[in-house]
Amino acid sequence: MRIRFLLFALYRDLAGAEEFELALPDGATAGDAVSALRARGGGSERLPPRPVVAINRHYASLDDRLADNDELALLPPVAGG
């Protein structure tokens, strides 16, 4: 399955891109996806191993399973206001 990653703020700067697409095995969790992204290197290895994530615009757990074409966002600690 294909997963679209979105990166914001500090994480975008660390990884050097705001968007990635990766193929992952069926049944992969959000945590598996983060590990796969970090394993690509090119700066992505500097991302934290357990970031806050959102799946399809909802806060999610790293244990949640992904589905094909899911949008997985890696969110630094939020600082609005």
């Binding site: 703020a9 615009r57 609005g80």
Partner: protein
């Protein structure tokens, strides 16, 4: 007026205040967050706000709806600006109108505190010496493991 908005345009606080008013509302509270010229004793020249815009819009709608439900009656509105902001620019504005004052203070306070906890928005401070840094933030409580 849409109750919750993420925008790149300057925030019109007078319009927000007006929109929260009603003949039945004896009280309107307006909270305004502004970019200040220093942080941790360091002079600041401006701020860049980044957001996961689609999700931030959803989350801000949720927060405003929660505040409105808690208030029981009246109006709650919130606008958060993103992009490049200068010192003195309004970054966030919240208006709550209701028949009596107490619930409007509570609603405005609830919305700003929940924004700080949950809204997927980030800010990069720019300093007079040319340096910049993303400010540390909060881990949203619903995802703490």
């Amino acid at each position: 007026m849409t109750p919750a908005v993420i925008t790149r345009d300057p925030i019109d606080t007078a319009a927000l205040l007006d929109a929260a008013g009603d003949a039945a509302n004896g009280a309107v509270t307006l909270f305004v967050g502004v970019v200040r010229d220093h942080n941790d004793d360091r002079p600041v020249t401006g701020m860049r706000y980044d957001a996961y815009e689609a999700m931030a819009s959803d989350v801000l709608h949720e927060i405003v709806a929660e505040a409105r439900t808690a208030m029981g009656e009246g109006t709650v509105l919130a606008v958060h600006r993103i992009g490049e902001l200068a010192i003195g620019d309004v970054s966030v504005a919240i208006a709550a109108g209701a028949p009596h004052r107490a619930p409007t203070f509570d609603a405005a306070r609830y919305v700003i505190e929940q924004i700080k906890l949950r809204l997927p928005v980030w800010k990069e401070e720019h300093y007079t010496d040319g340096a910049a840094r993303w400010l540390p933030g909060q881990v949203p409580p619903m995802v703490q493991s």
